[in-house]
């Protein structure tokens, strides 16, 4: 039997989260002697990119009715093509909009935000994120089939080349309930939830005029930028950059927190980062207790100097 994967693309280009979901599905398939079928809607990228992470088969749904994203129509499309008992989604906003609708259509269990490969398959049991990162839950599926959404950066992208085959399907799914009026995409920005390095700053930066140095450091590191809640509330930075309990939860390899004291709500969204660096002029800032590396000092002096030193390292 095949394990199905929702291979999300944005404007036809596969997301890193799609490769992670395929990698995750492959790990399960290898344990169970199963195959991996990745499903994507109107991709322009080559299927070779999915074979590279273990997809044995790729179903490309070519459908003008699905040109714009609609959770309901995409769930219908997934429902039509996936006939396995395990379906893997990335835990992106779009995928986690589709997965609950599909779970109802298929009468499957849905376990979101999973962190590891399953602990058992009969019953299906897996560890997932809970309490906004302040705890973890071992969840057991009660239905015969299960859909999981894989927390981004939790399992990682693992190459495992398969000799896959491609099937193109035209489903003609109707999408009459929603209509996209306009679409604004900022170009050149790294997706915060997918980024392997995130540079984040708080009120310690004193004002939005000082954000240039945060962006310089982020560009040097190939990182996305983020901010604390107070900063997005004041309007120094957009809400989409707010990381924390009521913002985005992230798990990069490196999280650099500049001028952020480390309130429990902020930590909740970032404490699954693999390495945390805290730069703050207050030696008593609680964030130092949750950091791997800390520097006490004036961020406005430290950040430009650190950027130069990293540039030198990178040559």
């Amino acid at each position: 039997m095949a394990i199905f994967v929702y291979a999300e693309n944005i404007n036809g280009i596969y997301k890193k989260a799609a490769f992670e979901a395929v990698s995750y599905a492959k790990a399960i398939a290898e344990k169970n002697g199963e195959t991996v079928t990745a499903v994507s809607v109107n991709p322009t990228d080559s299927s070779d990119l999915l074979y590279k992470y273990g997809a044995d088969k790729v179903i490309n749904i070519k459908d003008d009715g699905l040109k714009n994203f609609s959770a309901k129509a995409y769930a219908q499309a997934m429902n039509e093509v996936s006939d396995g008992n395990i379906i893997v989604f990335p835990h992106t906003t779009d995928a986690s909009s589709v997965a609950p609708m599909l779970a109802i259509m298929k009468n499957f269990s849905l376990i979101t935000n999973v962190l590891e490969i399953p602990e058992s398959f009969a019953p299906f049991q897996v560890k997932r994120r809970a309490f906004s990162g302040k705890g973890m839950m071992h969840a057991k599926a009660e239905a015969a089939g299960v859909i999981v959404t894989v927390s981004q950066n939790a399992y990682g992208v693992k190459e495992n080349v398969a000799s896959g085959s491609e099937e193109v399907k035209d489903l003609a799914v109707a999408n009459e309930d929603t209509k996209v009026i306009s679409h604004e995409q900022s170009s050149g920005r790294l997706d915060l939830k997918e980024a392997e390095i995130v540079v984040s700053a708080g009120r310690g930066m004193k004002g939005p005029e000082n954000w240039g140095m945060i962006e310089d450091l982020a560009n040097t590191l190939g990182a996305a930028t983020a901010c604390s809640k107070p900063v997005s509330d004041i309007g120094w930075r957009p809400h989409s950059e707010h990381v924390g309990q009521t913002g985005k939860a992230i798990s990069p390899n490196l999280y650099v927190a500049v001028g952020i004291s480390g309130a429990i709500q902020h930590l909740a969204g970032v404490n699954s980062s693999k390495t945390i660096v805290v730069i703050n002029n207050d030696p008593e800032a609680p964030f130092f207790k949750s950091a791997d590396y800390g520097v006490v000092g004036d961020a406005l002096k430290i950040i430009p100097e650190l950027t130069e030193k990293i540039k030198a390292l990178k040559g």
Partner: protein, 247 residues
């Protein structure tokens, strides 16, 4: 227009999360309960839409201990409330109860927060939409209603998308649906009037669960922080490059 707002009663965001000694359950001792912050954006938005004669009903799936949180929602401005008298077990069972009420009450719009800050399933809104066979828009940061259509702005990776949605529909919101500064804080009049607003208690219609919580783990503590002098940033770069291997 009739709006149904789904609210969840969750531990206050400052809560430290502990589990019982056998790790089988969340330890509720000493916890302050609040309206799920994501739901609060949805509730404030619904109350702001009341101006044109719209009614706002809040629904909560929870035992009697959630009533203070429901009363707060009434103080914020909801017209009435429904409590489904059962402790929530999983996303599916909660969604079934909400969908049942939404269906029988013929609501035009179901508004929810995009996820709860306790179990982070993020599944209830989409499940309710599918159970009702209605369109679903997630991660909304803006909403206007005009007759039988809504215009929703949803966050997408790296941008925003404006969508027209045929009602009835299910919308899951987040900060931006209203701004943080526009969240409604109950005043004395609201608090007093909330005491006399109708709160109906219904027994659950569904007992099936699709996911069981077997046990819980706390997050492992990190090793002690290594402090680096601000005069020796070369050392920080070296540690990140050679020890942590992240740059």
């Amino acid at each position: 227009m009739k709006i149904l707002v789904c609210i969840s009663s969750v531990p206050d965001t400052t809560s430290k999360i502990n589990f019982t000694a056998d790790k089988s359950a969340f330890d509720k001792n000493g916890i302050q309960w609040v309206i799920n912050p994501w739901d609060e954006f949805a509730l404030s938005k619904a109350v702001k839409l009341q101006a044109d004669g719209t009614t706002v009903t809040v629904i909560n799936v929870g035992d009697a201990t959630t009533e203070p949180v429901i009363r707060k929602a009434l103080a914020i401005g909801a017209n009435d409330a429904i409590r489904i008298n059962t402790e929530p077990k999983d996303s599916f069972s909660v969604a079934k109860e909400i969908a049942n009420v939404a269906q029988s009450g013929a609501y035009d719009l179901v508004l929810c927060g995009r996820e709860s800050i306790d179990y982070n399933g993020g599944a209830v809104p989409g499940m309710v939409a599918q159970l009702l066979n209605q369109p679903f828009v997630n991660a909304c940061v803006g909403l206007d209603v005009n007759g039988s259509e809504a215009t929703a702005i949803r966050e997408i990776e790296g941008g925003k998308e404006t969508i027209s949605v045929k009602l009835p529909a299910v919308i899951a919101g987040q900060k931006g649906l209203v701004e943080e500064k526009d969240l409604i804080i109950p005043n004395m009049r609201g608090i007093m009037s909330a005491r006399s607003k109708p709160l109906t208690v219904n027994e659950p219609v569904n007992t099936e669960v699709k996911v069981d919580a077997v046990s819980y783990d706390s997050v492992p503590a990190r090793a002690a922080v290594k402090m680096v002098s601000p005069d020796n940033l070369d050392e920080l770069v070296r540690l990140l490059h050679e020890e942590a291997k992240v740059i």
